[in-house]
Symmetry: C2
Subunit: 255 residues, 2 copies
């Protein structure tokens, strides 16, 4: 006959675990000897090891008792289920290993690979990290709020990166963020961007595309604020001129 610690050692568990199984009624309390110690038979070792085998496989203790007393058919199907679950866990852990390896680079976990590719492309084109982070954040918000527009946006973005003039302006904007608002280079940039807007007004559903590109963090940059103001003013002037000749609708002027 075995003491509780001998039984526990045989099954590879702690004494506390054995007592816990008694407490929850999973393993029957054995007879006690004269001093009140529990004394176990060899059958108890068999039972305990069967219990541990199921518990190790992830079966909740509350289900094990019923399982061990089930009919062979039910038992077999339960075992099959447990095995499938184990395999699923193995696959999950394998996936977690992959994700852990990607932890070093921030966005790779959060965004789909196409967007990560766009961000990588921006990096290789020399776009500043600040701008890239802003871009990343806007993709994350887009994904959380209306993820269905993402495929179209991804196509648009790639298309604009394929156009050299768009790309040149994009990079110039990126670099201009810290310029003085009176920097003469800014005047040339505004002229070029306005020309771009005129050229693309037809095929772009919403006008002011380039304006949108820089608007998100414009409040932090006086130079960008000037770009937006200037482009808005010119676009308004153009629209007013067109309206005057067509339907005569006055437009609100914003300095």
């Amino acid at each position: 006959m075995l003491t509780i610690s001998q039984l526990a050692a045989t099954a590879g568990v702690t004494v506390r675990t054995v007592r816990h199984y008694h407490h929850v009624g999973l393993l029957p309390e054995p007879a006690r000897d004269a001093s009140g110690y529990r004394r176990y038979s060899a059958q108890a070792a068999v039972d305990l090891i069967r219990i541990r085998t199921l518990a190790d496989a992830g079966v909740p203790l509350a289900h094990i008792d019923a399982l061990l007393h089930a009919q062979p058919t039910e038992f077999a199907s339960a075992i099959t289920y447990i095995d499938v679950e184990l395999q699923r866990k193995i696959d999950q852990l394998t996936d977690y290993r992959r994700r852990i390896a990607e932890l070093a680079s921030g966005e790779r976990l959060v965004l789909p690979p196409e967007v990560v590719a766009i961000l990588d492309r921006m990096r290789s084109l020399g776009v500043s990290e600040r701008r890239i982070r802003a871009e990343r954040d806007s993709w994350i918000l887009m994904q959380a709020l209306d993820s269905h527009v993402m495929p179209q946006r991804i196509r648009d973005k790639n298309a604009s990166f394929d156009d050299p003039e768009t790309m040149r302006l994009y990079l110039a904007c990126d670099q201009s963020v810290d310029w003085d608002p009176h920097d003469p280079r800014l005047d040339r940039l505004i002229d070029d961007m306005d020309a771009w807007e005129i050229k693309h007004e037809r095929d772009n559903s919403q006008p002011g595309y380039l304006k949108l590109v820089v608007s998100r963090i414009s409040e932090a940059s006086p130079a960008w604020q000037r770009i937006i103001d200037a482009l808005t003013y010119r676009a308004e002037r153009r629209r007013t001129a067109v309206s005057d000749t067509e339907v005569s609708t006055p437009a609100t002027s914003d300095s």
Copy 2:
């Protein structure tokens, strides 16, 4: 800006989980809007996903904060450690799958393969299940109490199964368990066993080997009780006779 449920959905966790991470200080509390709702930035989504990536990999929440703010070198070595642990878990689960498959047959999990082979051999020789269970239990107790004698016992057991006469007596004993104590077949069996004992007295360290074989559950079987009594009596008589001629030591007689 995201609400708590939008953030949670983005990271694939529950709202409760996000609040729990605030509670334990793992994710900083964001600013609230006018009605007291939490409002999250895209950066919060990045942070939360990085937290979940580590938590899914089994890192305790209490360690994650330090990990995310660690130096690149420490971070890298921690990641390596986590990855090793994950692989260890995968291997364990794979082993549990194997064990689960063996659950159907009781002793295979508990005893070393050599002993399982012995029990299988007994089964194929036609030994009763009752006797096999008794044998199994004695092996389990032996393993728990002095496992170092097992290799020798395994060799002994296999050797005795290789001897046809021993095997015949063993099987006869097994079958006699339910016989009437006055069954005439029992007399012949006792004669044969006594002859076996005499023949093996030299090379067997302790005498009464066959007696031991049946003694363990003898109290439950009148037939076996008779076998033991008879063999004991005859052995005593032999020992007394030898003693008388050699050193003249009287032996205690136990009827």
